[in-house]
């Protein structure tokens, strides 16, 4: 048996990969931050940035080369994330597509769908919007009511209903989501995973302003909207399985790698130094937050280590499954913790705004999206610890959600 020793060293290839992306970012990251991606100008600026990344083959490093990627390993993808966020590069306007939708396309899409959908998604030409939640279906996703009726004459489906909290819905182009195609089936049966063109007849988008003021998500009203058969992902009626296949396996890993939190933790330490040295306006009692700064930094580091542990497990052929719920709770609370600590360090200046306040407001959403942390803790308790489900009738069957902004 080959003795596999613990080895916390990046290989020569991985180090070379790190240097290459670091150099590229140093030369190309805009010197000034782009406007918010949830403004008309900012949305376009972010799309141009995605195009720039795509042209240099950095947009989707882990995808196969034929769809615009580099076939990078999981470790290389983590390295990419570390360098990307450390460099201060713009947020990813295409993230709902490339991290949440693309895995389902890879797993269930036809060859034609992959070729048609993936490259424009990676290039930022088509920005994908989520179509999971509905007014009466939040955490309880399987309660969704938006329905699709068969149109045999035209070869497709006609959609009627309403989606909400659809991230990027205000300016995005196409929506992926679940629809009820069998009116007699209940809960997670009889659902179909569909792709919807938001420019189609019968679609109305109503932007929703978020806590920070910009319309980062939207309501999407569907009134007899036609979707051709070519835009069904997987088999009709199998939508729940298609959707769940991509939320379980790599939920935390794909949506939120450790890189962004490491970068924020390093900035937090830097902020502490500067405030303590009187080089930046902030609290007059920085010492009171010493432990909080150290804790936030340590938690970011531990998320990184946990991720390397997970990557090792995957490399050993193990599956991750419900452990992704541990990930999700951890990174969302870590992000909140990092930004809340920074806000406290800024003291009376915190309310005057800036990147830390923006980040704080964004982090407040973390425990809510991608499946609320309450739902995740239920999943952890039931699937990892083996505690009994609540009796039926008290809240029925739960479906875990994979949703991000």
């Amino acid at each position: 048996m080959l003795a596999q020793v613990t080895d916390l060293i990046f290989s020569v290839t991985e180090e070379a990969f790190r240097r290459e992306i670091r150099d590229w970012l140093a030369r190309h990251v805009p010197s000034e931050p782009l406007p918010s991606m949830d403004t008309p100008d900012g949305f376009e600026a972010h799309r141009r940035w995605e195009r720039h990344l795509y042209d240099a083959r950095w947009a989707v490093v882990s995808w196969p080369a034929e769809y615009g990627g580099r076939g990078a390993s999981l470790v290389e993808w983590l390295i990419f994330e570390e360098e990307y966020w450390r460099s201060g590069a713009p947020g990813r306007v295409s993230q709902n597509g490339i991290f949440l939708f693309a895995p389902a396309v890879f797993a269930y899409g036809t060859e034609e769908q992959k070729r048609r959908v993936l490259p424009p998604m990676a290039a930022g030409e088509e920005i994908w919007v989520q179509g999971w939640s509905e007014p009466e279906a939040g955490s309880d996703l399987a309660a969704l009511r938006s329905r699709a009726v068969r149109d045999g004459r035209r070869g497709g489906w006609r959609l009627t209903g309403q989606k909400t909290w659809s991230s990027r819905g205000t300016y995005g182009h196409r929506m992926f989501g679940l629809f009820r195609t069998d009116a007699r089936a209940e809960r997670h049966h009889g659902l179909t995973y569909l792709m919807v063109d938001l420019a189609a007849d019968g679609v109305t988008v109503r932007p929703i302003r978020q806590l920070g003021g910009e319309p980062g998500f939207a309501e999407v009203f569907l009134d007899d909207v036609f979707v051709p058969d070519a835009d069904v992902l997987g088999e009709p009626g199998e939508g729940w399985r298609v959707a769940m296949s991509t939320t379980g396996d790599e939920r935390g890993l794909s949506l939120r790698g450790p890189g962004r939190f490491l970068a924020a933790a390093d900035r937090l330490v830097e902020l502490y130094r500067r405030v303590s040295a009187g080089e930046e306006a902030g609290t007059d009692t920085p010492n009171a937050f010493r432990d909080a700064v150290v804790d936030a930094w340590m938690r970011a580091e531990s998320y990184r280590l946990y991720t390397f542990r997970t990557v090792t497990r995957l490399g050993d052929g193990q599956r991750v499954g419900a452990q992704s719920s541990l990930n999700k709770v951890f990174w969302s609370e870590l992000d909140l913790n990092l930004h809340a600590t920074a806000q406290r360090l800024l003291g009376p200046w915190a309310e005057t705004g800036g990147p830390w306040l923006d980040g704080y407001l964004f982090s407040l959403a973390g425990p809510i999206y991608a499946g609320t942390n309450e739902i995740q803790r239920n999943v952890i308790a039931e699937r990892l610890l083996g505690l009994p489900k609540e009796p039926k009738g008290s809240n029925g069957e739960k479906g875990e959600k994979g949703e991000g902004r």
Binding site: M1, A3, Q4, V5, T6, D7, L8, I9, F10, S11, E14, V75, V269, Y272, R273, S276, R290, D291, V293, V294, D295, W297, M298, E301, S302, Y303, L305, Y306, F308, R309, V311, T312, R313, G315, D316, Q323, L326, V329, F330, E374, Q376, R377, N378, I380, A381, E382, L384, L385, G386, L387, P388, K389, E390, P391
Partner: protein, 339 residues
């Protein structure tokens, strides 16, 4: 890049677990330290885990200690498993007219039962000194070692009777002197102790969690298992999260220690912070979920509660190690991270 216990470590841990499942049931834990169990642990190599091979030990490192200490914590074994490893690393560095060599050989065969104090107030009691036959003490950078018969040892009260706390007066006389100017060795040994204690705490936390999940599945109130209530589920989910996220931190600390990484001190401190915090949370939540039965001596949970209350503060408590991390991280030249 590979962050996981090795196959050898996992195999070794399974062997230790098998011995402890047979020899360290809660009834036996209540009886405290047992020479017979120490001898059996010696047979499979636990007492000589870090004793160099030329002195009859296995010559392994921090990774192996993590695997073994986790099992000791899981079984709540009262024996000084971590202390044996710490004593071995120190003794392997000194000669002292062959005395160190004798103790190393005695450790490997289970004849020596060690107690160790490397830091803290000299007046504080020493864990395991009540059942040890050999005491190792660092006073600053000077190492003293004596057989228990030559030292004045007086049992001290302790929250965990299994730890065998005792006051030790070595009367720092020259005949107990082992070595001088051992600052680096003492620092490294204290790190190893913190890493071992961290692994032990995680094992204890897992044991408490298992016990509590079993209870929450069996105990019914209002016609359903209490474990089906979210108020219970969420507490235990948080315990699992704390343990799962602490584990790679402990594995990394063992690696940094073995490979002499610049961040080794900070990494060991972080391991103890995460493990102490996780075990404290586990103790608190598992007691709460057990309810009144958990607040009794008859429930086995008490064995691990006591262990955690004591061990969480031993080898430097979370606050001590946080301060050390802060000094490095917020100081002029933080150590580069590993990896």
């Amino acid at each position: 890049m590979r962050l996981a216990p090795t196959a050898d470590e996992e195999l070794f841990a399974r062997t230790v677990r098998a011995v402890l499942e047979r020899r360290c049931a809660p009834r036996e834990v209540r009886a405290g330290f047992a020479r017979g169990r120490w001898a059996e642990l010696a047979e499979i190599g636990v007492t000589g885990l870090l004793v160099p091979e030329e002195h009859g030990g296995l010559g392994l490192g921090a990774g192996a200690l993590v695997a073994v200490a986790e099992e000791a914590g899981r079984a709540c074994a009262p024996e000084p498993v971590v202390e044996a490893a710490v004593a071995a690393t120190l003794l392997a560095r000194v000669d002292a007219d062959g005395r160190a060599r004798e103790w190393l050989r005695a450790l490997a065969v289970g004849a020596a039962v060690p107690a160790v104090r490397l830091a803290g107030p000299g007046t504080a009691p020493v864990a395991h000194a009540a059942h040890a036959n050999f005491v190792l003490v660092a006073d600053g950078d000077t190492l003293y070692g004596r057989s228990a018969a030559e030292a004045y040892i007086h049992p001290a009260p302790g929250v965990d009777p299994g730890r065998g706390l005792a006051y030790v007066d070595m009367s720092m006389s020259p005949d107990g002197l082992l070595a001088v100017r051992q600052e680096q060795a003492v620092t490294r040994a204290a790190r190893l102790g913190a890493i071992g204690a961290a692994a032990d705490l995680l094992g204890a936390a897992r044991a408490m969690l298992d016990l509590t999940v079993r209870h929450a599945r069996q105990r019914h109130q209002f016609g359903r298992p209490i474990g089906s209530y979210q108020a219970v589920k969420h507490q235990l989910a948080d315990v699992l999260s704390a343990v799962e996220f602490a584990h790679p931190v402990v594995l990394r600390a063992a690696y940094s220690h073995e490979h002499g990484r610049p961040s080794a001190g900070r990494d060991a401190a972080m391991a103890k912070v995460f493990a102490s915090d996780a075990a404290d949370l586990a103790a608190r939540s598992c007691l709460q979920v057990h309810g009144a039965i958990g607040y009794t001596q008859e429930c086995d949970l008490v064995l691990w509660l006591r262990r955690v209350w004591a061990l969480s503060a031993a080898w430097g408590d979370a606050a001590h190690h946080r301060a050390a991390i802060a000094a490095d991280l917020l100081g002029p030249a933080p150590a580069p991270p590993c990896p």
